[in-house]
Amino acid sequence: MSVPIHYYLILSAFMFLTGLVGVLVRRNIIVILLCIELMLNATNINFVAFAEYLHDLGGQIFVFFTLTVAAAEVGVGLAIVVAIHRSKDTINVEEFNLLKW
């Protein structure tokens, strides 16, 4: 017996919303990065669940690419965080106030 598709969808929707709200309310840029990862992983659950449901490998292939892109994104993101920490000594987004937010 397999798990019904909507269980996966509810899980992924919950994960996605957790990430979405996290990006909007958290102040530490590292935590924001983690929340973005959460959003991307929510989509991965969706893709795998749909791939199983539709008996189509396309969704699983998509996940490989998403994972790779997410890794590249974190690489660039952390580099930016390091650079900004060097110049401002903070990674709190509320103190990024040179430009009107």
Binding site: F16, L20, I29, M39, N46, Y53, V69, E73, K88, L99
Partner: protein, 493 residues
């Protein structure tokens, strides 16, 4: 199973060349003696010229490669030509701008090329995975480029903001793609079009997928209310990068966005055209009104670029409203035409801002333009033409663009939208012409070493000549571009 043939590789030769050139630049940069590094810019420029030739030769021969993942149709070729042209202008502008700013990064050109490759993939892909990968390649390169001025905290801050909101919007876009995959069973646009035909947004999966895709693309297009990153990023990023972002990334996002919604979700056109109608009106109002109170030229141009996305959206809304009729092609053609013309004027305006120096730093406040007409009449005249064109006053390119977009709105029985846009075009004339007023009507202060001046260089002259030629020639004789845009439209299912 579908395998690809060498012929497929030949079809994507422009993209491969751009990637190869980017790799060569990255490899040569650390090993080259610093007095030869200018060569990297010329290498990039040469590659772009070859690519433009190749793309132009593909223009009349629609083809599809990799089992339908990449479409080399007139639509893709139109955008690719435009994007390569903009990338070429960016390289030329950066060549003198980077020297003036003392940014000696050879990899800068590699990032321009990588971003360009991402954009080219975005506009020619007919597969959501490829579109997503193209978007990410473009965005990741642009995040780095925005933060390239590492000594300047504003640049880093712009980069961080762009990164957070860009990654956030990619997440939303990707979630939309995953739901669309679940709702239709495919990530290929033609298959999606077949699956959504006859369905409506009553299906919750399809509803959420459409909304999330619209929001994801709205972030990339900088459409109100998803525009908040734009002014900060445009102001903080190095100006040559800002020009590239404002023009190329917007054009590529429109290219991918139109293809996804017209080719993939054409069956839902009445639904999505309503969503975009709301976004379009909000963008026109907010973009133009907030631009009125800006004192920084880069920030003002950022709001102006938001407003221009609103004008282009009118064409998208009209496309959806006109539906399957033969007229719907007019909507898409007007968007293509608008963005092509927008390229010349916006890039020209940013090029002037980039090279206006105040002492050793950039002069980007409106006050820095005071009396420019006295000291540098030619530069002031060019800026005047760009501003007049951005405001949409004939006989400049901006007028032609607005005219065709408004016409498509009228054809779609939305005269009120055209009238509204016209009113806000009049509002926009205020802030564009204020800059002209400052340049021409105010006396310059006593000239000191610190007073603003335009640093001219041969490459900058080429950029400005291209921009002004585009604005003036297409303003008077737009026929060739109109024909090209009309050929390049997408069939709307």
């Amino acid at each position: 199973m579908t395998f690809f043939s060498p012929g497929d590789l030949f079809l994507i030769l422009p993209e491969l060349l751009v990637i190869a050139a980017a790799c060569v630049v990255l490899i040569l940069d650390p090993v080259m003696p610093s007095n030869l590094k200018d060569g990297l810019a010329w290498l990039s420029l040469g590659t772009l010229a070859v690519c433009m030739g190749l793309i132009a030769s593909q223009m009349g021969y629609p083809a599809s490669a990799f089992g339908g993942v990449v479409a080399i149709d007139a639509y893709a070729c139109f955008w690719k030509l435009l994007l390569c042209f903009v990338a070429g202008l960016t390289v030329l502008l950066s060549y003198s701008y980077l020297k003036e700013e003392r940014l000696y990064f050879g990899e800068y050109y590699a990032f321009v090329l990588l971003a360009l490759c991402g954009m080219m993939v975005m506009v020619s892909a007919t597969e959501l995975l490829a579109i997503y990968l193209g978007t990410e390649l473009m965005s990741l390169s642009l995040y780095v480029m925005a933060g390239l001025k590492r000594s300047e905290p504003r640049s880093l801050e712009a980069s961080a903001k762009y990164f957070v909101l860009g990654a956030f919007s990619s997440g939303i876009l990707l979630y939309g793609i995953s739901l669309l995959y679940g709702a239709t069973g495919s990530t290929r646009l033609p298959a999606i079009a077949d699956a959504v035909a006859g369905r409506s947004l009553d299906d919750p999966l399809l509803l959420f997928a459409t909304i999330l895709l619209a929001v994801g693309f709205a972030f990339k297009l900088a459409v109100v209310p998803f525009h908040m990153w734009t002014p900060d990023v445009y102001q903080g990023a190095p100006t040559s990068v800002t020009a590239f972002m404002a023009v190329a990334s917007k054009a590529a996002s429109f290219g991918a966005f139109l293809r996804v919604f017209a080719e993939g979700l054409g069956g839902l056109k009445t639904d999505w055209s309503t969503i975009f109608l709301v976004l379009c009106v909000a963008t026109l109002v907010l973009g133009n009104v907030v631009a009125l109170v800006q004192t920084n030229v880069k920030r003002m141009l950022a709001y102006s670029s938001i407003a221009h996305a609103g004008y282009a959206l009118i064409g998208v809304v009209a496309t959806g409203r006109l539906g399957g009729s033969a007229d719907s092609a007019h909507g898409i053609a007007s968007v293509l035409l608008y963005l092509a013309l927008y390229t010349f004027m916006t890039f020209g305006a940013f090029a002037i801002v980039a090279m206006l120096r105040k002492g050793s730093i950039e002069g980007e406040e409106i006050e820095d333009f005071t009396g420019l007409a006295r000291r540098q009449p030619v530069a002031a005249l060019l800026m005047l033409v760009f501003m007049v064109s951005l405001a949409g006053i004939p006989p400049t390119a901006g007028f032609i663009g607005k005219f065709y977009v408004f016409m498509s709105a009228v054809e779609a029985d939305m005269t009120w939208l055209a009238v509204l846009a016209l009113i806000f075009a009049a509002v926009s004339a205020y802030y564009y012409l204020r800059l002209v007023l400052v340049m021409y009507m105010r006396e310059p202060d006593a000239i000191t070493a610190d007073s603003p001046r335009l640093v001219l260089s041969p490459t900058l002259s080429i950029v400005l000549a291209c921009a002004i030629a585009g604005v003036v020639i297409f303003g008077i004789y737009p026929d060739p571009l109109i024909q090209l845009a009309a050929q390049a439209t997408l069939p709307l299912k």
